[in-house]
């Protein structure tokens, strides 16, 4: 199956900085998480995909349309939800969505009908008739999402879609994204820093750092490679406990947030840790799942990049 997005050796230079450096990337249908530290080149990549900035070198295709040539055709088939607030002051919620639909080529009346339909889908009630300046962050997120999907695009590019949402709304939005993908065949590219979101809904993950694609794999493959780990905080002397861990084939490392991150191949890691504590006479203050596996992968990838750069 042909990829939706195919980039070959893409480079993008700004005046003083190389934002993307030889990016090769293939994104297939489904939900893909785009991860990377700040300044990694995610936003530039998204702008390139939308045809908003020109390539310095390389070539790419989105939906079979050439990057840098068919920007308008690409944008007609893509729905983009920016990270930042973007609204036209003085407009009502419903007007913003209708306006977006009109810009994408829907006739006036149809745009209004569709805007109402999409706002219903986004669970936006009477607030739609209020001026957008008076909206909370969560409401604005919903409006941005509605404006991104109102013209029924084949590909959705969502930049931090859940930031500013309360847990319930976050859950709802993720469910909507999944529904769009599973029931309506939409493909989604999510750029986010909230790794649990990626873990919850993404089929693929792309990690980009320092302008290069550092990792590109399916979520299922990434889960396999990750060993279970927990974070343990101890009361008193930790040395006897750590010695017992080594003897039990468990690896440990001091966690940045405090305590020890313990990793092992045991099926029941928690039981083994309790046994070690008992044998060494150490008291455990807390035992929590360590940073989840995706976070671990993300951090190690980013660290490797930083080490390579330095």
């Amino acid at each position: 199956m042909a990829p939706l997005i195919k980039l070959e050796n893409i480079t993008k230079d700004y005046a003083t900085k190389r934002a993307l450096n030889g990016v090769d990337l293939e994104i297939h249908s489904g939900i893909t998480g785009l991860l990377g530290p700040n300044g990694a080149g995610k936003s530039t990549l998204i702008k390139l995909l939308l045809g908003l900035v020109k390539l310095t070198s390389g070539r790419g295709m989105v939906f079979g349309h050439h990057l840098g040539v068919d920007g308008r055709l690409i944008r007609a088939n893509v729905g983009y939800m920016p990270e930042d607030d973007c609204y036209i002051p003085g407009m009502k919620g419903i007007e913003v969505v209708q306006f977006s639909a009109c810009l994408a080529g829907l006739p006036d009346i149809e745009a209004l009908r569709r805007a109402h339909e999409i706002l219903d889908f986004c669970n936006m009630k009477q607030e739609r008739y209020r001026e957008i300046d008076t909206y909370s962050t969560g409401m604005r997120q919903k409006i941005k999402f509605a404006a991104a999907i109102v013209h029924d695009p084949g590909l959705l590019i969502l930049d931090e879609p859940t930031s500013g949402l309360d847990p319930e709304e976050r859950e709802s939005l993720l469910r909507r994204i999944q529904l769009l993908c599973e029931d309506h065949g939409k493909s989604v590219l999510i750029s986010t820093h909230i790794l649990p979101d990626v873990q919850a809904i993404c089929d693929h993950v792309v990690i980009i750092a320092d302008g290069r694609v550092r990792l590109q794999d399916s979520m299922s493959n990434l889960s396999k490679t990750s060993a279970p780990s927990v974070n343990v905080r101890l009361l008193g002397d930790s040395d006897p406990f750590l010695q017992r861990l080594t003897a039990s084939d468990l690896r440990y490392a001091a966690a940045e947030s405090g305590g020890w991150d313990i990793t092992g191949v045991h099926d029941d890691l928690t039981s083994v840790i309790w046994q070690c504590a008992e044998q060494s006479g150490t008291r455990i203050q807390s035992l929590t799942p360590a940073k989840n596996s995706l976070e671990e992968i993300f951090l190690s990838t980013v660290r490797e990049t930083a080490d390579a750069t330095s």
Binding site: Y14, K47, L50, L52, V53, R72, L73, R75, A76, V78, G79, Y80, P82, D84, D85, C86, Y87, I88, P89, G90, M91, E95, V96, F99, S100, C102, L103, A104, G105, L106, P107, E110, R114, E117, I118, D120, F121, N123, K125, A147, A148, I149, H151, D152, R176, L179, L180, D183, H184
Partner: protein, 374 residues
């Protein structure tokens, strides 16, 4: 959940043509601008001058009608006297004298050497109006179609030049400064450019917002005024002598709209704060015209003549620096378009307008592109 909630549904209908997408931006912008009470009031105020100008057209047409009637009466009298003389075998000397007197009156009337009604009426009124000498010759000619043609052109030029140009400054100052600056501040450009919209379409769409208001406060009132003037005329023959005026109105509107909207939008694109753009907009007019006044004042002092006197206005420094004022440049274009100055007299002002427009659009394009590029 709303009762009519149908969940998400696909949409695969025919899309509107891409070349008209700018109109969506314009339409939405005009609708938003119209929510401001200031804009509504300014637009209403911009229509008030047509009451005054309408009254003037009525006076002019009545004056011309009076003269036409007077000429007809003289001709009828001459015909009558001729008939009487032909019928009589021995005509009285007094009848011949009366005929000769009437023929003299008609000749003088047609030559314009006698003060016609129109020149009396307009002469009194125009004495108080600057630049009125430009149509004095036409009035002196005494020919009604020439008087009408020149007077109408002159009235329309003054309509554009004085009340509408001043109203323009206020209306554009109320509408344009926020058009791009607010988009930059609220990052609304992402809303536009994430859709199949090009930068020029965005710029044209935005330019057309103040342009629509300008058309509403200059072109439309002028065309309504033209229609009123036609209705106030004795017959439709006026169309023959004034057919060119609607075209001149349209050209004058274009010359007014393009440079002013470009400058206003360029200023709006330079800042995120619309009040700074507003301030800059008014500063462009005030400082430009102020600098021109300073040059004129120096000529007044040097020549020891009153301001706006022919000696001062024909002074080379005053003429050369006239283009400092945007108001004068627009005036140059309008006097040329309404036929009251030659190209040689107006080219400088028009060139300044063209250059300002090109530079403004260039800056505007760069400023619109920059938030997306970064």
């Amino acid at each position: 959940m709303p009762l009519h909630d149908v969940g998400y549904r696909g949409w695969d209908e025919q899309r509107t043509p891409t070349f008209m997408r700018w109109w969506i931006i314009t339409k939405t912008g005009v609708r938003l601008a119209f929510r401001s009470h200031w804009v509504k009031r300014s637009l209403l105020a911009a229509w008030l001058p047509i009451l005054y100008w309408g009254a003037v057209f009525l006076i002019v047409e009545n004056a011309i009608l009076q003269d036409t009637r007077q000429e007809e009466t003289l001709q009828q009298r001459i015909e009558y006297l001729k008939e009487q003389l032909d019928k009589s075998d021995s005509p009285e000397e007094s009848a011949e004298m009366m005929l000769s007197e009437a023929q003299d009156q008609l000749m003088q009337f047609q030559l314009g050497s006698q003060q016609t009604y129109v020149s009396r009426v307009l002469g009194n009124w125009l004495a108080a109006v600057p630049q009125a000498n430009k149509i004095a010759d036409a009035i002196a000619s005494g020919e009604s179609h020439v008087i009408r043609q020149e007077t109408w052109r002159w009235l329309f030029m003054t309509f554009f030049r004085y009340p509408q140009a001043l109203m323009l400054i206020f209306l554009i100052g109320a509408v344009a400064p926020g058009l791009i600056s607010r988009d930059i501040r609220s990052r609304a450009f992402l809303l536009y450019f994430a859709k199949p919209i090009g930068r020029w379409e965005y710029i044209v769409g935005k330019l057309m917002i103040p342009a629509v208001f300008l058309v509403g406060m200059t072109t439309l009132p002028a065309l309504v005024l033209f229609l009123l003037a036609i209705l106030a005329s004795p017959d439709l023959s006026v169309l023959y002598s004034t057919w060119d005026i609607p075209f001149r109105i349209l050209l004058a509107s274009v010359s007014l709209v393009i440079p002013t909207c470009s400058i206003a939008l360029m200023l709006s694109s330079l800042t995120q704060e619309s009040r700074f753009a507003s301030f800059s907009w008014f500063a462009v007019w005030v400082l430009g015209h102020g600098a021109y006044f300073a040059v004129m004042l120096s000529a007044v002092i040097r020549l020891r003549k009153p301001p706006f006197s022919p000696e001062v206005m024909s002074n080379s420094a005053v003429k050369n620096w006239s283009s400092l004022s945007l108001y004068n440049c627009l005036g140059d274009a309008q006097t040329f378009l309404f036929g009251f100055s030659s190209f040689e007299e107006s080219w400088k002002g028009m060139l300044v307008l063209v250059v300002i427009t090109i530079v403004s659009l260039g800056i505007l394009y760069r400023r619109v592109s920059s938030p997306v590029r970064v």
